[in-house]
């Protein structure tokens, strides 16, 4: 079956610390993968998308980066977190006719 996994579910990190959020998909190959962020009071903002290994497109300049080390793995990272990085991060996978989202990671930077 086709599934998408995202972890951790919640994360509290101090300002200036690094970040690594992981997303993996199962049951497919060469998926198009996306990272979205929902900040408080705002909609879903596309951060990065990837159409294949090593291929990353950034939609919004920011303190974050993304990597696609394997076909079904998409990682969101930061070297030094800012308070403004707090939010709900969602990994998404484009399938025919629509998107499937992971369960999300609630990141609180303190």
């Amino acid at each position: 079956s086709q599934t998408i996994h995202q972890w951790p579910a919640t994360l509290v990190q101090p300002v200036g610390s690094p970040l690594s959020l992981e997303c993996t998909v199962e049951g497919t190959s060469n998926p198009n993968l996306y990272w979205y962020r929902q900040a408080a009071g705002r909609g879903l903002q596309l951060l990065f998308y990837s159409v294949g290994i090593g291929q990353i497109s950034s939609e919004v300049p920011q303190n974050l980066s993304a990597s696609r080390p394997q076909d079904r793995q998409f990682i969101l990272s930061s070297k030094k977190l800012l308070l403004s990085d707090s939010g709900f991060y969602l990994c998404a996978w484009l399938q025919r006719g629509g998107y499937t989202f992971g369960s999300g990671t609630r990141l609180t930077v303190v």
Binding site: N32, G43, L44, L94, G98, T100, F101
Partner: protein, 119 residues
């Protein structure tokens, strides 16, 4: 520039009545629109979509209407149920800049409308 706007941050409806969620857009290049439903601490789940060449799509209690001339779409839920209480996101689908006929696309979301259905 907010390409997809959901001007009502919240909506309260009585159980059994109709819920109408509205969405306006400015990008005429959107080729289809989607509605997602999101519960707290969960990822959004796909609800219903409509192609830009259609004006109506119905799926059970959910109907989406598209008015291209007004650049407006709406989601109707009838009858509303308490389990429908969630945040509803409207999204427009567009191809990435410079991509024509590509398999990937981008979604541009509105800020969401929180629907509360009261028993």
């Amino acid at each position: 520039d907010q390409q997809v706007k959901q001007n009502s941050p919240s909506l309260s409806v009585q159980e059994g009545r109709i819920s109408i969620l509205n969405c306006d857009y400015t990008n005429s290049m959107f080729d289809y629109f989607l509605w997602y439903k999101k519960y707290p601490a969960e990822g959004p789940t796909f609800l219903i979509s409509i192609s830009s060449i259609k004006d109506k799509n119905e799926d059970g209690r959910f109907t989406v209407f598209l008015n291209k001339s007004a650049k407006h779409l709406s989601l109707h839920i009838v009858p509303s149920q308490p389990g429908d209480s969630a945040v509803y996101f409207c999204a427009g689908h567009t191809q990435p800049r410079g991509e024509v006929g590509g398999s990937q696309g981008n979604l541009i979301f509105g800020k969401g409308t929180k629907l509360s259905v009261k028993p």
